[in-house]
Symmetry: C2
Subunit: 200 residues, 2 copies
């Protein structure tokens, strides 16, 4: 398969690219580097990406920005970033990419465990993640040509926790997290939320 | 208790007001009628509502607009309406209302079964509903003064189905739907999604 990975230069994206590259051709897109550059906050940038890349068999997104802040301090910009970038940026990958994926191809997006197991400061991230789970469930009903759409729900990634000086014992490595993306791309599910701990 | 119901002139809101009025004082707010007028799409309007109403013991929202459209035809305005009105309108009720609710008081919002059981054309509604479920889970962790926040997840309401010329046999009446709102207001849960069929 020819697989476009958006966010391929991030911690999870790099691991997903490494794992999937064993059996597939990978095209890497990133905000700052990669074979192609894309800004998920811009529909024009996403349109430009698909125009440049052409047709692929799968699109994997490990991208999308949303910030942490105490609920009492979370301002309009904080909500906007989560909803316009992590949520609508990934939704727009599906909206704008559906004509650039071959019959039977797939989209795999990224949400996260905070939708169902929130933590202090995660309000905006939790909302975006919860919306993404419902998005794939609903959109899967309406995709044609056998197209599939799923979302991977990672837990905290060990490498990220270590970078942040956190105890990483409860985390899952990026390489292990990547296995859920492989399951989404190579499997036949659609409308599903793939919880990373179930694919270790 | 003194309970502010936003959306009190709608089908569910009217039934919730009727049921809760047996034991509580009800203040009705609506977009077009009611004791007070409010536009959930406007933060200024929500701020004005709370300034006029003063302090209450509970806020119930049965309001918020989001539209149905085939995924292939759902445009930016359709996503914006669901995210800015049904989702952020209700989130803003909590953000702007938290200083107007007495200690131990509660917020009860409205999502819906389409977050987990979508139907054709429900993409935007499903997303808003899923985000609301995650929002209350996350926000509940951070509310102080014993404040609670929950969301009711109605199934299709019989009266609405009949108005739309649908077979209403799978629906739940507005009066029965109201029971979940009473459970949220009078109970002690927080961060919960109250599925209407569990409160009949």
């Amino acid at each position: 398969m020819k697989i476009l990975i958006v966010g391929a230069t991030g911690t999870i994206g790099k691991a997903a690219a490494d794992l999937l590259s064993k059996n597939h051709e990978i095209i890497r897109a990133g905000f700052r580097e990669g074979d192609y550059r894309v800004d998920l906050g811009s529909k024009a940038s996403i349109e430009g990406l698909f125009k440049s890349v052409g047709t692929v068999d799968a699109v994997v997104s490990t991208a999308g920005t949303a910030g942490f802040a105490p609920f009492a301090e979370l301002d309009d910009d904080g909500y906007d970033l989560a909803l316009s970038n992590k949520l609508m940026g990934q939704v727009n990958l599906v909206r704008l990419g559906r004509d650039h994926v071959s019959d039977g191809g797939s989209f795999t997006l990224t949400a996260g465990v905070l939708s169902r197991q929130p933590m202090l400061g995660s309000v905006a991230v939790s909302m975006a993640n919860g919306a993404l789970e419902s998005f794939v469930r609903a959109a899967a009903l309406e995709l044609d040509r056998g197209l599939r759409v799923n979302v991977v729900s990672p837990v905290f990634v060990k490498e990220t926790m270590e970078l942040m000086g956190m105890d990483s014992s409860s985390g899952v490595s990026a390489a292990d997290t990547a296995k859920a993306y492989r399951a989404a791309v190579e499997g036949d599910s659609s409308g599903a939320t793939l919880d990373v701990p179930e694919y270790l």
